[in-house]
């Protein structure tokens, strides 16, 4: 008998100095095929050796949100389950947009340089560069995770 492979352990970080979490509020522990542990209690006991200050909760695999980008913003409590730290999600959204716009700005820079060389109109290029610079401006005013999910994909298609 071993623990249920469809279970997950939520490891809630209670130590802000624990750098292993890479900025996430929590981590998800997955039992592997040969876990060989016969009870949730033993599982918790083993993981508490690695995370002595964390809070450990065992949930069903289906309860874990699947949004990978916002994972660092996820929070968990035994009473209300998983939720999203909107402030953190906004920052992740901004980081995503800033990373996405780098190649786009570089491409516009090339277009601009060529336009200068040919004397072509640069109005659209300047406007697009400004749009990319301002792409994160409205993020702070957003209040829901759904708004942020739409926003963060704004540059996915260029």
């Amino acid at each position: 008998m071993s623990i249920d492979l469809d279970k997950r352990m939520v490891i809630v970080n209670n130590d802000s100095d624990d750098l292993r979490f890479g900025g996430s509020n929590l981590a998800i522990c997955v039992p592997l095929e040969n876990a060989g542990v016969d009870s949730d209690g033993v599982w918790k006991s083993q993981m508490s050796n690695f995370f002595p200050t964390a809070s450990l909760y065992i949930v069903d695999k289906s309860e874990v949100p699947t949004d990978e980008l916002f994972f660092p913003a996820f929070k968990y409590s035994e009473d209300s389950g998983f939720s999203t730290d909107i402030t953190k999600a906004k920052e992740i959204t901004k980081q995503k947009l800033r990373a996405d716009r780098i190649p786009l700005l570089e491409a516009e820079d090339i277009k601009f340089q060529r336009a200068l060389e040919t004397g072509a109109d640069t109005t659209d290029i300047v406007a697009e560069k400004q749009r990319l610079r301002d792409i994160t401006n409205d993020v702070d005013a957003m209040t829901t995770e759904a708004q942020l999910i739409i926003k963060r994909a704004e540059l996915d298609s260029g």
């Binding site: 690695f50 874990v64 699947t66 980008l69």
Partner: protein, 537 residues
């Protein structure tokens, strides 16, 4: 002397006459000082005062027949309205408590008499108001009496008590109580009186009113009269209890004429012969002799056809030879030497040409251990077919050469490190992959394709994971090697893996990161990706 004519003075009267007339008038009027009215200075005022006290003219306002005051007062008095002088007696000449004439002369006297009589009635009735002290449902005297009367029932008493009052009737019943009780007892006795007694063989006449029933005992029954009880008891005739728990049995039972057991004899069980034991009785071997031979050992005798000791002696004197085909004289096994095949499961030994095969057939997880002794060198081959189980070579330090052959294919050293050549060019210690796994990371989790000796995976974020060992490493001097799946089909993978430089590995956990590599992405976002990892130690 009074004059019926009023006094007159004439002008012709002399002064003397005038004086006399005046005095006469004064005398007839009387002195004003004698007036008792409030107004006493003149006669008219006094008369008017009296007139005022009398009121309107009596003859016009009096309701009596007489219209004068005196007449009216007398009329009230004499007519009985102001006194009881006119009270009419009843048929018994009773005057309602006013029998004395003095009680009837004045209203005040009559009322006082009435008041005295009312007090007597009050005393007779009780000091408190009847309606507050009556215990009947009705709270007035008539109602209460009627209620009591209803409870007494019809005033007519039954025959025998007719004409009596209730009190006399009760007294009559009380005086007849004893005789009535005696009669009742007689009636009851007659009701329960029996006059016939029946037995098994017939009946006889007996009158319980004056007869008696005798119970006669004999040597088996005794009768005892104790007060109003007859006790019938069985007489003890001498039989005693017998306990057959001591491997004895009841042998004789003696009975008297009445069928009573008077004696029981027991004797010990002895003298059993073969016929007394049933076939297949299943007597345990442990009950034979000193009990040291078990049933299993006893059953092993099945099939023996001759003297066992003789056969053993003969076998012990035999010498065995173990040799390969064509080899002579082979290895001699003397009678003080032993060839042992140790196996916990079913074991079979077979030979095919120059090859001897030992195999374990059951149970499937059994272990076959061969203690080789000291002479397993030479040519040929020694094959262990594990059948999927574990093959353990117990090589002691002093006998490590037993696992060598001329080519040093396999050579454990004194530290239990195994060395082999196998094309390396020389015998050298080999090291192993102690754990490995194939993973896929997505949707904030990790799935496995195949893992060995890895117990848990921890997902911290995209491309940031920890993996724990099922069996811990002896130290942290193990090597982590891993590759990630490429992101573009057909091109060199741009995804790489690194062990985490923030958190140190331990003997039970290590941390890795995966993500894009090369160019501007070298320090970019860590990214989820399928990856393989192996631990070498």
């Amino acid at each position: 002397m009074t004059d019926s004519n009023f006094t007159k003075t004439f002008t012709t009267d002399n002064f003397t006459q005038f004086v006399n007339n005046t005095n006469t008038i004064g005398k007839e009027v009387g002195g004003l000082a004698r007036l008792t009215t409030t107004v006493d200075s003149d006669l008219v005022g006094a008369i008017n005062e009296l007139d005022s006290d009398i009121g309107a003219r009596p003859h016009t306002t009096l309701n009596t027949n007489s219209k004068t005051i005196t007449g009216a007062v007398n009329e009230i008095h004499t007519a009985g309205n102001a006194s009881l002088v006119g009270l009419t007696p009843d048929s018994a000449s009773k005057l309602g408590g006013f029998n004395d004439s003095a009680e009837r002369t004045t209203v005040g006297g009559a009322l006082n008499s009435l008041s005295a009589d009312v007090r007597i009635l009050d005393s007779d009735i009780g000091s408190a108001r009847a309606k507050t002290t009556l215990t009947t449902t009705s709270k007035n005297i008539v109602g209460s009496i009627n209620e009591l009367d209803a409870e007494l029932g019809d005033s007519a008493l039954d025959s025998g008590l007719t004409g009596m009052t209730i009190r006399r009737a009760i007294n009559a019943l009380d005086s007849n109580h004893d005789s009535a009780t005696t009669q009742l007892r007689t009636d009851i006795a007659n009701s329960f009186r029996y006059q016939t007694i029946s037995g098994d063989t017939g009946s006889d006449t007996v009158d319980s009113a004056n007869g008696s029933l005798a119970i006669v005992g004999d040597t088996s029954l005794s009768t005892t009269v104790s007060g109003n009880r007859v006790v019938i008891d069985h007489s003890v005739t001498g039989a005693t209890d017998v306990n057959n728990s001591g491997k004895t049995y009841v042998q004789d039972i003696t009975m008297d004429d009445a069928g009573h057991v008077t004696a029981i004899g027991s004797t010990a069980i002895s003298g059993l012969v073969n016929d007394d034991v049933a076939a297949g009785a299943g007597i345990n071997a442990e009950k034979i002799a000193d009990g040291s031979v078990s049933n299993t050992e006893f059953q092993a005798l099945n099939g023996i056809t001759g003297n066992i000791q003789t056969q053993l002696d003969s076998a012990n004197s035999t010498q065995f030879f173990l040799r390969r085909l064509g080899e002579s004289p082979g290895e001699q096994i003397n009678n003080n030497e032993t060839i042992t095949f140790n196996a916990s499961g079913g074991t079979s030994v077979s030979r095919s040409g120059a090859q001897i095969t030992y195999s374990s057939t059951a149970p499937s997880n059994s272990t076959v251990t061969i203690s080789a002794g000291t002479n397993m060198s030479g040519g040929g081959s020694f094959t262990l077919n594990g059948g999927g189980g574990t093959i353990t070579l117990n090589s002691s330090v002093t006998n490590v050469s037993q696992l060598n052959n001329d080519n040093n294919y396999l050579s454990p050293d004194a530290s239990s490190n195994i060395s082999f050549n196998s094309g390396y060019g020389s015998n050298a210690v080999v090291y192993g992959v102690r754990a490995f796994g194939r993973f896929n990371a997505y949707n904030n989790g990790i799935t496995t394709i195949h893992v060995k000796n890895l117990q848990y995976a921890v997902y911290f974020a995209q491309g940031l994971y920890a993996i724990t060992f099922a069996n811990a490493m002896p130290d942290t001097n193990y090597a982590i090697t891993g590759v990630c799946q490429g992101t573009v089909s057909g091109l060199h993978p741009t995804m790489g893996m690194s062990f985490d430089n923030v958190t140190a590995r331990s003997t039970s956990i290590f941390y890795i990161r995966t993500g894009p590599t090369g160019g501007a992405n070298s320090q970019g976002f860590a990214t989820n990706t399928p990856f393989d990892v192996a631990i070498v130690r």
